[in-house]
């Protein structure tokens, strides 16, 4: 069973049961360059991963928890860490993005909650 745990300075939670699909994408830092003889060569720097997932529905409380991690990127000025054990991902710093909060009922249920986690370095500031 695939699960995503997310951590920041306030603690760790395991996100609600995942729907499918859970998308893992490889971001290739590469550029193909064409020379005068119309051949190409490739310069690259690094590869990073990105994970994205969409919950069809999420309770208000679960969404609040999730959005808390999103918001704290900017208040703590540090990226959260995610762990997806089944993908061999352990405490990877990620830039987190979250799509608009689409509330569909008076209980605060949120529809189509799309989250993406983009692997990156956790730079150490002062």
């Amino acid at each position: 069973m695939y699960a995503i745990s997310i951590t920041d300075d306030t603690g760790t939670v395991t996100l609600p049961l995942l729907n499918v699909p859970l998308v893992q994408q490889v971001l290739e830092g590469a550029v193909d360059i064409t020379t005068l003889d119309m051949n190409i060569y490739t310069d690259f720097t690094n590869q990073k991963r990105m994970w994205s997932h969409k919950w069809a529905y999420m309770s208000e409380s679960d969404f609040t928890v999730l959005k808390g991690y999103f918001d704290r990127q900017f208040s703590l000025m540090r990226y959260p860490l995610i762990t997806i054990t089944d993908l061999g991902v352990t405490d990877i710093a990620v830039r987190m993005t979250l799509n608009p909060q689409n509330i569909i009922d008076h209980c605060g249920t949120v529809e189509n909650v799309q989250v993406t986690f983009r692997e990156t370095n956790q730079l150490e500031g002062s």
């Binding site: 300075d9 590469a30 002062s126």
Partner: protein, 723 residues
């Protein structure tokens, strides 16, 4: 071309290349103690100037700095190295753009110290007290106050106070009967929630322990605490006076007492956190307090009973470091390559504070190489050198500004020998060296590892080091015809020493009071190679002299004035007299003869290429100098300029599959469309960013000439006599 490994070349020429780069900066400009440092008597170790603007100070070695690797923050690096024509001086600059999402490179305004969290805990009958406390923010400092009660003196001692396993630093303690308070601190406590553990030696049946933790931000990380003081109660009150050097500091105190019948009350102006452990009518009270400090700041508490109060106070120093990275003139090094192998490309200084772009969260450092920086420095003495070659003058100048011989490599065979080289005080090194190099037509540059090199005009490499063809060229432009030179005019005003002549005569009598001295500074119109010391004896007509008299009218001779000393500088002279008599005496007349250096000859040479003028109209280049000494040399230099610049298409700018190991003055073979042959690299742009390495080289067509060298070249062989 810089030497590189076989693996480097294999990756560089291969189809898929993993790019690598490193950027190192010395924001603190601290020196690496492992590197031996050269110092003159008055050089300032760890000073702020890399290159002091006077000859009395030494240039601080750029290799000496401790460099911090900031590669992880680099977004892009752009460097350009160019051989500027016609001076043949290579200058380099670099722009380094770094991630500044957290404001790391933004100049700081040194905000005041502020508290951002306070927690406490209490227990009894055990040796340890632990609780959780969270730290956050920048320039953090954690203070922990502990009050311990033992039921009989002496009170218990603390074994340790730790935060996240790190030992905290003891600040102070005070005892009053069975009560003892302690204050501990920790600079830069780890961020996040961690555990404070207090361990003491109290017996299990008697000890009570209360702790309060308070974390602060904007505290100096290098010297977080200042004055400390302790006190115990006198008449139900206690206070400490703290000496505060900076009005933006913060005074912090921790007080404790026995019994909870009444609490501690903090003095006016303090922000207090009072904790007590009321249990069956007795226990402990602890109070953590702070207030903004100014001059002598008093912290204290009052209470209504008299149960063993005591306290510790400390000053927290505000973070005032101005963000070293935000200061100008920070040394930078840039390296580029492939895989795990990089080669040095740039060593220089940031020119100013970084450009902070708030929207893109970036900071951009603009850097120049050390040679360019040195060119901005002024010399503090007028120089007059006689019969020096270009190389010897460069050595003299580099030595004059404090460079070590290990910092430069001078080609010993420069062609220009200058009868009289003269440079005025206050001129910049660039203003002095550019015309020197223009006349020499050699090359001067700072190489990638920071060594200044000079080579004469015949010392170009002759063997191509790399070939660019359609397989490794992405695009090219042909430079426009503005690069064409088809008409050259050289005017040299040669300096020479003149026969001895009258250089100075005093404007009127100068008095010297009895027993006093007189300094007369003389400024000459031209530099001099020598001037006679004035005599008051009978002298030949064409010699320096002075006349001393007892009266201003010059009617009564005197013998009381003696000439103490004469000092001759390149363009000035100091004459010092003393009057040993008992009355005022006069230097009635003073005449100085000497040998000035003036323009003695003017060489004027013109050359042109008719075919080029026919094709492109006249493209003139005028060289006016003091440093070409004879007509043959001027003719030769004009011919070289015409030969090298008369044709359109002599220079081609190529976007290529980059090789960071290429250098200015490398010979490359070009085979792209109609551009075939050997070219010399006169400009290189290296840029790395957006996962791409861009290299753009300007290649100038070059007739590879092997010049005849005595004892090496074959007589009647292919080597040419140098022009």
């Amino acid at each position: 071309m810089q030497p590189t490994s076989a693996l480097f070349k294999e990756i560089a020429d291969g189809p898929v290349r993993k790019l690598a780069w490193q950027v190192r900066a010395s924001f603190t400009k601290k020196f690496d103690d492992d590197i031996e440092f050269f110092t003159l008597d008055d050089s300032l170790l760890d000073g702020s100037d890399v290159l002091a603007p006077t000859s009395s100070s030494v240039i601080q070695l750029w290799d000496k700095y401790e460099y911090e690797d900031i590669t992880d923050r680099v977004i892009s690096v752009e460097m350009e190295t160019e051989q500027t024509e016609p001076y043949s001086i290579v200058r380099a600059m670099a722009d380094v753009t770094v991630n500044n999402f957290d404001g790391y490179f933004t100049p700081k305004t040194s905000p005041n110290i502020a508290s951002n969290n306070i927690t406490s805990a209490f227990n009894s009958y055990t040796n340890t007290l632990s609780w959780s406390h969270s730290c956050s923010g920048k320039n953090r400092y954690l203070v922990v106050g502990v009050v311990i009660l033992g039921d009989s003196p002496p009170p218990h001692d603390l074994v340790s106070v730790t935060y996240d396993g790190l030992d905290m630093t003891y600040i102070g303690d005070e005892t009053n009967a069975g009560v003892r308070v302690f204050l501990y601190g920790l600079v830069a406590p780890p961020k996040g929630s961690n555990t404070i553990v207090v361990t003491h030696d109290g017996t299990l049946t008697t000890s009570w322990c209360l702790g309060i933790a308070q974390s602060f931000v904007n505290v100096s990380q290098s010297q977080p605490t200042g004055d400390t003081a302790t006190a115990d109660d006198t008449d139900n009150a206690m206070s400490v006076s703290l000496d505060v050097p900076d009005n933006n500091s913060l005074a912090v105190s921790f007080g404790g007492k026995y019994n909870t019948d009444d609490l501690l009350v903090g003095n006016a102006g303090q922000t207090n956190t009072i904790e007590d452990t009321v249990a069956s009518g007795w226990g402990l009270v602890g109070a953590m307090s702070y207030k903004p400090a100014s001059d002598d700041t008093t912290m204290g508490y009052t209470y209504s009973d008299s149960n063993d109060g005591c306290m510790v106070g400390v000053v927290l120093n505000r973070y005032t470091e101005a963000g070293d990275f935000a200061l100008p003139r920070r040394p930078f090094r840039v390296l580029m390559g492939f895989g795990s192998e990089v080669v040095p490309l740039f060593v220089g200084l940031s020119t100013r504070t970084p450009e902070i772009n708030k929207n893109s969260r970036t900071a951009k450092f603009h850097c120049i190489d050390f040679l360019t920086y040195m060119f901005e420095q002024k010399i503090d003495n007028t120089l007059l050198l006689q019969d020096y070659s270009t190389g010897e003058i460069l050595e003299y100048l580099f030595d004059h500004i404090g460079l070590l011989p290990s910092q430069y490599e001078i080609d010993p065979t420069s062609f220009n020998r200058i009868s009289y080289f003269y440079a005025e005080k206050g001129r910049t090194l660039g203003e002095i060296i550019r015309p020197l190099m223009e006349a020499e037509q050699g090359a001067l540059w700072l190489n990638e590892v920071g060594v200044i090199r000079f080579q004469n005009r015949q010392s170009y490499p002759t063997i191509p080091v790399h070939e660019f063809d359609e397989a490794n060229t992405i695009d090219y432009d042909v430079s426009d015809e503005s690069d064409v030179i088809n008409y050259v005019e050289i005017i040299s005003k040669v300096l020479g020493v003149q026969p001895s002549q009258n250089l100075y005569q005093i404007a009127g009598p100068r008095s010297i009071p009895a027993g006093q001295s007189l300094d007369i500074w003389i400024d000459f119109a031209d530099p001099v190679t020598g001037a006679d010391s004035p005599s008051d004896e009978l002298v030949p007509i064409e010699a320096s002299y002075f006349i001393q008299t007892q009266d201003e009218a010059g009617t009564v001779p005197s013998t009381d004035i003696s000439l103490d000393s004469v000092s001759i500088f390149s363009k000035s002279m100091l004459v010092q007299f003393t009057n040993s008599g008992s009355s005022t005496r006069y230097v009635y007349d003073l005449v100085i003869w000497g040998t000035p250096v003036r323009v003695t000859d003017e060489i004027r040479v013109e050359d042109q290429d008719a075919a080029s003028i026919e094709a492109f109209e006249q493209r003139a280049y005028r060289l006016e100098t003091n440093y070409i000494q004879d007509r043959e040399d001027a003719v030769s230099k004009a011919a070289i300029l015409i030969r090298d610049y008369k044709d359109y298409g002599d220079s081609v700018t190529l976007d290529v599959k980059g090789r960071p190991d290429l250098q200015i003055r490398d010979i490359i073979t070009l085979n792209v469309d109609g551009y075939v042959g050997d070219y010399v690299i006169t400009k290189i742009y290296n840029g790395m960013g957006n996962n791409r390495y861009i290299q753009r080289v300007r290649a100038t067509e070059k007739d590879i000439t092997e010049y005849f060298i005595l004892d090496e070249s074959l007589l009647d062989g292919s080597d040419l006599l140098a022009p």
